[in-house]
């Protein structure tokens, strides 16, 4: 039930949800939904030979983990079951499909980026991270949740982002 409600809010309610007006949970819900939706617009290529789609969250106190787990319960990405893992060890990073670098991340960005395997997508939520090398980065613009996209980073990770996704993104270098 919670999931349904959440999805409703996140996916379907589009009447200008003002991020600042919501509490942190609300924002986390929205971010989880955005992560899921971004994943839908990515051409994942043939990198993942596993039976599941792994989203790794760096920073185990992140509020995004719970709503992501809700989504993972009965949704799939690229026809694969979604598995949410928290990353406590940098060695885990190479086994993920999406690495979400939360504000609570204990690791430096460069240490994370240096451990990425090809075909891995990075999403962050810290100011300037996109220009520093993550593929997507959540920002608040005019009290709305938006996302930046680093095209170079995306293509160097060996992935392709759909135009429908990119037209909504703030493109950074």
């Amino acid at each position: 039930m919670i999931l349904k409600k959440l999805l409703f809010i996140v996916l379907l309610s589009c009447t200008g949800i003002h991020v600042s007006a919501q509490d942190a949970t609300q924002e986390a819900n929205l971010k989880a939904a955005f992560i899921y939706n971004i994943a839908k617009y990515i051409d994942w290529g043939g990198y993942n030979n596993r039976n599941e789609f792994i989203i790794g969250v760096v920073g185990n106190s992140s509020k995004v983990i719970i709503p992501l787990q809700e989504i993972a319960k009965n949704r799939t990405i690229a026809n694969k079951r979604i598995v949410i893992v928290t990353i406590d060890n940098l060695a885990q990073i190479k086994d993920c499909d999406i690495v979400f670098i939360s504000k609570e991340s204990p690791f430096s960005l460069s240490s994370i980026l240096s451990r990425l395997a090809p075909g891995e997508l990075t999403i962050s939520e810290s100011k300037g991270y996109a220009s520093r090398g993550t593929d997507f980065n959540f920002v608040i613009v005019d009290q709305r949740l938006k996302f930046e996209a680093n095209l170079k980073a995306i293509s160097s990770s060996g992935l392709k982002a759909g135009s429908q996704l990119l037209k909504l993104a703030i493109i950074t270098d």
Binding site: L12, K40, Y41
Partner: protein, 463 residues
């Protein structure tokens, strides 16, 4: 307004053809316009639907990432690409508006509650289309487009204009064609009518009408020709009969006249002589009638011959007046001119016959003691004789028939005898002399006139 019933066949034919063609054209154009409008609407639905479909596909991410700005940009682009779309909206699955544009002052769009996800609805001047936004089998929203049917009005206006122009042109052409076709029908009818009128006037029944068609009018003309043939056959038989009868009557009549004349000379007893006188007078009358019949039959068969010679018509007139005066003591027959010795070239006996006829008519048709005035007038070319009476007169409308065969004035009482042949014979005689005979209307009574050309012998010879 002229009613259809009273129209001439010519007009009826034209009207019918023009009306038929206009009717056919109007029906055709109605069908054409209805089809055209239907096709236009279908095209409009199809094109608006496909725009909605494209827009719907492009709106998936907009809804997923809740980006009304991007949605608005999309709608604005749409507006500039297809300006006929006056209102557009992207709704989420709750029916809330994510983005929309609408003319200023207009109400936000709200689709009718009973409208399905993918549907269209026409109003007088707009088309509303709804299309679902579906992502991964999930209905996440709806596109609403309102398109103005600008071209519809224009198309209709163009169609109407085109139709009116074409109908006018068609009416023009049909009128021309109908005029040509009706000519074929009505001309023949008119020819028949005119021929019948002419025949009625001239009594010439023998010229058949020629018609090259093969329809009812041809049948009518053939029937007419058959009738005319029959009539002219009858007329011929009648003329033959008159000829034979008058001839056969004349022979015994001459004998009777001879004997009665002899009796008249021989009879001394006054009482008997009175009977004989009366018998003789009636024999003379009978002889006149038979003579008239003979003359008519001669005229009809072209056997009337003139014996031309020079004679003094003034003297002839005096003689006829004298003899007419003798037979009717009650009338005063006067001559009212000073002309003496007017020589003309003609058949004296026949001119005398004309004079006697006119004088006896004048006396006959002015019963009681009345005057009859005879006047001779002469100019360079003609001599005119006028016989004026003060009797019953002849109505003007009868003047044109008065010289016809067997015609008697409608006012003739039974007491006034005659076949109605006298004037017919007179006209023929005068015509053969190159003259004219006519009747003048008078306040009281009638004036008959005839004129004869005054010709010298050389002129006559030349003729």
């Amino acid at each position: 307004m002229l009613s259809f019933k009273n129209m001439s066949i010519r007009k009826k034919l034209i009207l019918m053809q023009v009306f038929t063609s206009v009717l056919v054209l109007v029906i055709m154009f109605l069908i054409f316009i209805i089809t055209d409008v239907k096709a236009y609407k279908q095209r409009k639905v199809d094109s608006t639907m496909s725009i909605a479909q494209v827009l719907g596909t492009n709106s998936i991410s907009v809804i997923q990432f809740q980006d009304p700005q991007a949605a608005m940009e999309m709608l604005n682009q749409l507006h500039s690409v297809s300006p006929s779309i006056i209102q557009a909206a992207i709704l989420n699955s709750k029916g809330e508006v994510v983005a929309q544009y609408a003319p200023e002052g207009s109400k936000p769009i709200k689709p009718p509650a009973n409208m399905r996800d993918s549907a269209h609805r026409f109003t007088d001047s707009t088309l509303m289309v709804t299309y679902p936004i579906i992502s991964a089998n999930e209905n996440i929203g709806k596109i609403i487009l309102v398109s103005k049917l600008v071209e519809l009005k224009k198309t209709l206006r163009d169609n109407y204009r085109f139709a009116i122009i074409l109908i006018l042109v068609a009416v023009g052409f049909t009128f021309i064609v109908a005029n040509v076709i009706q000519g074929y029908i009505s001309k023949r009818l008119l020819l028949l009518v005119n021929t019948m009128k002419k025949v009625h006037k001239t009594g010439n029944y023998s010229t058949p009408l020629i018609d090259e068609g093969n329809d009812e009018i041809t049948t009518l003309i053939n029937v007419y020709n058959g009738m005319m043939e029959q009539i002219s056959e009858n007329v011929k038989k009648k003329d033959e009969f008159i000829g034979i009868a008058s001839h056969e009557l004349k022979t015994p009549l001459t004998t009777i006249k001879g004997y009665v004349e002899m009796l008249q000379m021989m009879e001394e007893d006054p009482a008997k002589k009175q009977f004989v006188d009366s018998a003789f007078k009636n024999v003379l009358k009978l002889e006149d009638l038979v003579k008239d019949l003979l003359d008519v039959s001669k005229i009809e068969s072209g056997q009337l011959q003139l014996e031309m010679a020079e004679f003094d018509i003034s003297q002839l007139v005096d003689e006829t007046i004298a003899s007419a005066q003798e037979t009717s003591a009650n009338h005063q027959i006067k001559r009212n001119d000073e002309l003496k010795e007017v020589m003309i070239y003609g058949d004296r006996k026949r001119i005398e016959q004309v004079m006697i006829n006119l004088l006896s008519n004048a006396v006959k048709y002015s019963p009681g003691e009345k005057e009859v005035i005879v006047t001779l007038e002469k100019n360079q070319h003609d001599l005119t004789v006028r016989v004026r009476d003060f009797g019953l007169g002849i109505p003007e409308e009868e003047h044109e028939y008065i010289f016809d065969r067997f015609y008697r004035t409608k006012g003739s009482s039974v007491h006034i005898s005659g076949f109605g042949l006298g004037l017919y014979i007179c006209r023929d005689i005068i015509k053969r002399h190159g003259g004219k005979i006519w009747i003048d209307s008078m306040d009281k009574g009638t004036r008959f006139n005839f004129s004869l050309p005054i010709l010298t012998k050389t002129q006559q010879a030349e003729k």
